[in-house]
């Protein structure tokens, strides 16, 4: 019976493992095909059938295709042995869609089983019958589901509820109304278990059919704590959406931002509440970032893609929710009961339930009560390592909008050595966000510990975090600077020539952080610059040297000491020019040029000498970029370089010279780059959603419904048709067929295509709001790292400005960073490039109606593989045009039309 026993039992241990495996299905998994399976299936003994089926399942588990046994397996569906049945079902479900015709053979047996007295048999039959998903039997299944929905057994009713989405997946229009009806019945079921399953069915079958919820809203709320945990997650989401669609947002909640902005007095009233809550006397301006909150709430309602694509920043702010209506949780019973019934769920054992409940309170609860979500969320951090990361991603958004919530709980975000890198990075960011005057001391102490962490990438992040904290709390700037300076003086950076790349990353980050802090207030940090420059000789990492040399040029006029030592420093860098790496060379050139063009009067001669020396060296450099920059500067600075005529015989006409002067002036002189507050551009999705973790709208992601949309029936209708997407305006076409369709619509004459103007916006705007944004992505949570991103783009901008003359893309700081993944996000291209418009119908041919269409760059909310077409109807005649019918030619199944009168 066990041939392998004799062969392998050399050692006792092996024998014992075999003994252990006796009686399990091990031999079936190891060697499923060692006997002929087919005859076993036809055996009259259940045990042999079982064995054959197990072998087949083993083959399925291992990835083999055993669908050729389908006919023989189907025969066994009528077996009386429950085990055989179960195994047959498992097999059937796996292959039914591949062999639909043979699968039909099993239907009779299912029908019979549905009448069985054993509820388990009925439930299994129903599950399998619905699970094989054949169009042909859909009506039969629907009847069965309807019957089972009234079954005395809770388990069977539950299975009926889960069978509904399977039917819905077949997309049979004629059945949908019946399906929704059954969902409605199951939602009113007495058993909480059934209600949970019905909620899941509701959310996948008819998530916008709010009337079904409206009828039972109160009952659903009160039953919520008793529903089984998985159902709770779905039901919470449904109730939240309903409450918003029905009553709108809550006036006292985080979502109601506009009001708080306009009436700052009400904000002040709240402030004492906050300060008691936040314990420590937090700067009132900091505790509630209303702009951020407003962005978040918009994102929740509109979806970030739509929100961010809206043309301009000012537009975003001024555009209030057009139809937004507000309610108050004090006198709205529905909102009150929802908050009441979700609050015990904070005690749930299931982390997803806790997060879902926290989401409801985040959106609906009055601001002073949001504090309730904090402890449960922090408790979740301990549940499992995988969920840890997801919870942190959500906490990050909460903490960004309302730092005071988590401010006193900062030690929960202290980093453990077992945390994954992503988790560590998230925790660092959250720590930066929530740091306050009272907690900063402990947080900085922690950061100092992290710098010694063996994970150097993380250590570099910790250094960056110190810089961010200093920016956030200017009081701490000098303390942070001191620490950072001390770090750069560590002998392991300076003494050791072959510092590893990661080590260098930490150093570069430290110097970048210093630069960032200095930038806030250069004159008061003059000494720091001096010290850095003094250390220049001992710092060997090219990127770090480059930044310091850049600072010399940038702050050459700041304070009193720097101008005095400037010549010496320049001499030093000129002397070491030849041995530098090319990025340092480039910065040296920049610095020399900057100082030269700024200098007047004394020392001019020495400066010119240095500049000529450096330029000469540069022009003989191996690297063509350095050579190019050298040549360029020579031309540009020809007038500054002094009396000597240039070797090349280019006669610079006076006005040309003037032009060059102006150019140089612009390039090198201190310019107050007026940065308008950078619009907060990160994507926020509903708390607890998948999209929030992957930071793009996952297919099927739906923002919250528009507030108060089910008050007005007409509005609802329009909304639904719009959201359904199968409506008229968004066409479900994949790329190829999309273009075919385009030609169907007879856009043959190329003359019709009119190219939109590009790049109409001014240069300035381009700079402030770059079209293509390259951002640091080491945190895998890019968009949310607002401060970092903002700084990043500022820095990029500087470097870009510096390097502009020769090559805009050699962003030195970019190169100097530790290798990290980068994210390139193209945002809001519509603003600059208007999509091409194609003419669909000429006004001459269309009785005065002109129809244009464009392929919009908007992302469809249905699927990423669907192209959105925007059609513009314009009435060029005087008369009213009515009954415009838009018809889809390809999918004859769904001729959707939309009529409107203009």
């Amino acid at each position: 019976m066990f041939p392998q026993f004799g062969a392998t039992a050399d050692t006792l241990s092996k024998a014992s493992t075999i003994m252990f495996r006796i009686g399990t299905d091990a031999h079936l998994y190891d060697d499923p095909e060692d006997v002929n399976i087919a005859p076993l299936l036809d055996s009259k003994f259940d045990s042999e059938k079982c064995e054959a089926l197990k072998r087949l399942l083993a083959l399925i588990a291992q990835g083999f295709d055993v669908s050729n046994f389908f006919p023989q397996v189907v025969k066994n569906v009528a077996s009386h042995s429950l085990e055989v049945k179960k195994l047959v079902y498992l097999y059937l479900l796996h292959y039914a869609q591949k062999r639909p015709n043979e699968a039909l053979l099993s239907i009779n047996s299912f029908q019979k089983d549905l009448g069985d007295t054993n509820p388990l048999v009925r439930a299994w039959a129903l599950r399998t019958m619905a699970g094989i998903r054949l169009h042909a039997i859909a009506p039969l299944v629907l009847v069965a589901v309807g019957k089972c929905a009234r079954d005395p057994s809770v388990y069977v009713r539950k299975c009926a509820a889960t069978a509904l989405p399977k039917l819905h997946d077949l997309r049979l229009e004629e059945l949908s109304s019946t399906i929704e009806e059954i969902v409605g019945t199951l939602l009113t079921d007495n058993s909480p278990a059934v209600v949970g399953a019905a909620a899941a069915a509701f959310s996948s079958v008819c998530p916008n059919n709010y009337s079904l919820i409206g009828k039972n809203y109160k009952r659903l709320c009160t039953i919520l704590p008793d529903v089984e945990e998985w159902g709770q997650i779905v039901l919470i989401g449904i109730l939240l959406r309903y409450a918003i669609a029905r009553h709108g947002l809550v006036r006292e909640s985080m979502m109601f931002h506009l009001h708080s902005k306009e009436h700052s007095s009400s904000e002040n009233d709240d402030s004492d509440v906050h300060s008691t809550v936040g314990k420590v006397g937090i700067d009132p301006s900091k505790k509630y970032d209303s702009e951020l909150a407003s962005m978040i709430s918009r994102c929740y309602i509109e979806g970030p893609d739509e929100y961010l694509s809206r043309s301009s920043y000012s537009n975003r702010v001024s555009l209030a929710f057009s139809g937004a209506k507000f309610t108050s949780c004090k006198n709205n019973e529905d909102v009150k009961i929802l908050l009441q019934c979700t609050s015990p769920l904070f005690w749930s054992n299931n982390s997803a339930v806790v997060l879902a409940a926290a989401g409801v309170h985040w959106i609906m609860a009055p601001r002073e009560n949001i504090q309730r979500i904090v402890k449960p969320l922090l408790f979740l951090l301990r549940s499992s390592r995988s969920s840890n990361y997801v919870v942190l991603c959500n906490i990050q958004v909460f903490a960004k909008a309302m730092p005071y919530l988590f401010a006193s709980h900062f030690e929960n975000f202290f980093i453990l050595s077992a945390d994954s890198y992503q988790t560590k990075a998230l925790k660092l960011e959250i720590l930066c966000t929530i740091s306050t005057d009272s907690s900063i001391a402990s947080i900085l102490k922690e950061f100092q510990d992290y710098i010694r962490d063996p994970d150097r990438k993380f250590a570099a992040d910790a250094v960056a975090a110190i810089g961010l904290c200093a920016l956030q709390l200017p009081k701490m700037a000098s303390t942070c600077l001191e620490g950072l300076l001390a770090l750069t003086r560590q002998d392991f950076f300076t003494s050791d020539v072959r510092t590893s790349e990661e080590e260098a990353g930490v150093l570069v980050q430290a110097i970048m952080s210093i630069k960032m802090i200095i930038k806030q207030d250069p004159p008061s940090h003059e000494k720091v610059i001096v010290q850095l420059v003094r250390n220049l000789d001992s710092i060997k990492v090219p990127a770090a040297r480059a930044i310091i040399i850049w600072m010399v040029g940038e702050y050459s006029k700041v304070g009193e000491i720097i101008p005095k030592m400037l010549i010496t420093v320049l001499k030093y860098i000129a002397w070491s020019f030849a041995s530098e790496s090319s990025e340092t060379k480039l910065q040296t050139l920049n610095t020399v040029a900057k100082v030269l063009s700024n200098s007047r009067g004394e020392n001019l001669e020495t400066l010119q000498k240095i500049a000529r020396y450096v330029l000469e060296l540069a022009e003989c450099d191996m690297n063509y970029v350095v050579r190019g920059r050298g040549c360029f500067f020579r031309k540009l600075l020809s007038c500054h370089l002094g009396s000597k005529k240039l070797e090349d015989e280019v006669i610079t006409s006076p006005e040309n010279e003037g032009l060059l002067n102006v150019l140089a002036e612009h390039m090198f002189h201190e310019q107050a780059i007026q940065q308008s507050p950078v619009p907060i551009n990160y994507r926020v999705y509903l708390p607890g959603s998948l999209s929030q973790i992957v930071l793009h709208a996952a297919p099927g992601y739906e923002p919250l419904p528009k507030p108060c949309t089910i008050l007005h029936d007409a509005d609802t209708e329009a909304d639904v048709s719009e959201q359904d997407g199968s409506g008229s305006f968004t066409r479900s076409l994949d790329e190829e067929s999309g273009s075919y369709n385009g030609s169907d619509h007879s856009v043959t004459s190329g003359g019709n295509t009119e190219s939109g103007e590009t790049g109409s916006s001014s240069e300035d705007e381009n700079i402030q709001d770059p079209l293509i944004q390259i951002s640091d992505e080491s945190h895998l949570l890019p968009a949310a790292s607002a401060d970092l991103e903002e700084l990043m783009s500022k820095r990029d901008l500087e470097t870009w400005l510096d390097d502009q003359p020769s090559l805009p893309n050699s962003t030195i700081h970019k190169e100097s960073k530790v290798p990290r993944s980068a994210r390139i996000s193209i945002k809001d291209i519509e603003k600059r490039v208007r999509p091409k418009t194609y003419e669909l119908l000429d006004s001459a041919n269309g009785n005065g109606m002109k129809v244009d269409y464009t392929f919009s760059s908007d992302v469809s909310n249905i699927s990423p593989h669907v192209v959105t077409i925007q059609a513009t109807f314009k009435n060029c005649s005087i008369e009213t045009i009515s009954n415009i019918v838009l018809k889809h030619e390809d999918s004859t199944a769904k001729p959707s039309d939309c009529s409107e009168s203009l």
Partner: protein, 451 residues
């Protein structure tokens, strides 16, 4: 490759990174996209082999996704392994790793990620409970049971039955009797013939007709202490995460009430579904109808503790290419009961080339991945345990500039270090013979000492 991952799938340029053939498949799927949540679950062994696949919907997920996943894992290493949510070019993946087994679930649509992760964790819990541990062999040996469990736990991508007590009644766990029986008769069935009564009762976690000759109920407080001691030796964080574990064997449908002497120490709590919220809200009493057998009644958290049972004092000095390390361990605040299973574990920095570590008590092991484990067990009366030795640094390094973190493990039986105390356990209807037992245990959790 990571960039590809980070690219928003939904952006209009998403199609550009599929090859044309692939795009066709994907877009077909997208058009008849299913609303179901999880589409498929894969179980991968620690060598990347797909041991099992369970398709949950009609829209089958090809195994090639696992190949993609494993390739990514090999190329990105640990940081990928610890990423719970992954966006692949075709699917979103959720992964939970338990004892070398990777549980991988796929979806194409928006769903709460915690739901998927929590579900995978439940699957892992149930499986390791059924199979008494998790490893490649037991899963392969019991693949039928795994299939049946997965089928019962999830229907059409939505969790169906996850309550372990009910699952146990529907699908019998493998035990020695059934194994022997199957050897003798060649026949075994682990599928229950009847539906467990609990599925229809109003207490879905308990079968109604349970009879015991001896009624017993045991309540255990099991706590884990988390602490961080920073490089200056200051305690920056100390808290306890505890569980109230109950093992009940009581006839009929008992109604229990458990109260604490000092519920005010609890900072936050989470309950098993059987606990009624109302009595807790008003009187901090746990009132519940227990499931039969072992279960976790409640978990709790006690923050801002001030005393830790053990001190660990690491000292590292270095000069001239080598470092001297010494770690001292001793009792700081005597909990009143013996502390045992003490161990200190740390990761040697990667720049350490060789070590020579000795301890005056206990056993020191240095694993191949430079993890050093010092097992002390109990602290002897006469001397303080001391680990000392030298770390030889790599060539060119003069001194150590990164320092390891020491993870401390310990166990104290008979004491809940949070100070939480059970007051009494009451039954509404007292059965004729009832034995009640209370125990407590504290373990070291994330107890870290930085050096």
């Amino acid at each position: 490759q990571t960039k590809l991952l980070l690219f928003p799938l939904s952006s209009s340029c998403s199609a550009s990174f599929h090859s044309s053939g692939e795009t066709q498949i994907v877009s077909e799927q997208a058009i008849q996209r299913e609303e179901t949540m999880l589409q498929c679950i894969f179980l991968l062994s620690d060598s990347g082999e797909v041991m099992l696949e369970k398709q949950l919907t009609g829209n089958r997920v090809d195994r090639s996704i696992c190949v993609w996943f494993w390739d990514q894992l090999l190329s990105h290493g640990d940081s990928f392994k610890q990423q719970p949510v992954i966006a692949s070019p075709t699917h979103y993946l959720f992964q939970v790793v338990r004892e070398g087994i990777t549980f991988l679930a796929c979806t194409q649509v928006e769903m709460p990620p915690l739901m998927a992760i929590e579900f995978l964790c439940r699957v892992a819990d149930v499986l390791s409970d059924y199979l008494e541990g998790l490893n490649e062999d037991v899963i392969k040996d019991n693949f039928i049971i795994v299939y049946e469990l997965l089928d019962e736990m999830m229907d059409n991508g939505h969790p169906l039955t996850t309550e372990p007590n009910i699952l146990r009644e529907m699908i019998a766990p493998p035990n020695i009797v059934s194994k022997m029986l199957s050897v003798v008769t060649g026949n075994s069935s682990n599928v229950s013939e009847t539906l467990p009564g609990a599925t229809s009762s109003c207490v879905p976690w308990r079968t109604t007709d349970i009879k015991y000759a001896n009624n017993e109920v045991y309540v255990d407080l099991v706590e884990e202490m988390d602490a961080i001691i920073n490089r200056d030796g200051i305690l920056v964080k100390c808290e306890v995460f505890g569980e109230v574990q109950v093992n009940s064997h009581i006839t009929g449908v008992p109604d229990l009430a458990l109260s604490f002497v000092n519920p005010s120490v609890l900072d936050d709590v989470r309950f098993h579904p059987c606990v009624r919220y109302r009595p807790w809200e008003s009187y901090q009493i746990l009132s519940f109808v227990p499931p039969d057998g072992q279960f976790k009644l409640m978990s709790y958290r006690v923050r801002k503790l001030k005393s830790i049972p053990l001190y660990v004092k690491p000292q590292i000095t270095s000069d001239g290419g080598s470092s001297r390390i010494s770690v001292m361990v001793g009792i700081r605040n005597d909990p009143g009961k013996a502390i045992d299973s003490i161990s200190v574990q740390f990761q040697l920095p990667s720049c350490v080339s060789s070590t020579d570590l000795t301890a005056n008590h206990g056993v020191v092991n240095v694993l191949s991945n430079k993890t050093c484990i010092w097992s002390i067990d109990r602290i002897p009366k006469d001397r303080a345990p001391l680990l000392s030795g030298t770390l030889l640094l790599e060539n060119g390094l003069d001194r150590l500039h990164v320092f390891p973190t020491f993870q401390v493990g310990f166990r104290v039986q008979g004491v809940a270090l949070s100070g939480l105390q059970i007051d009494k356990l009451e039954l509404k209807v007292i059965p004729n013979r009832l034995y009640k037992g209370f125990r407590a245990l504290t373990r070291g959790g994330q107890y870290e000492v930085r050096s």
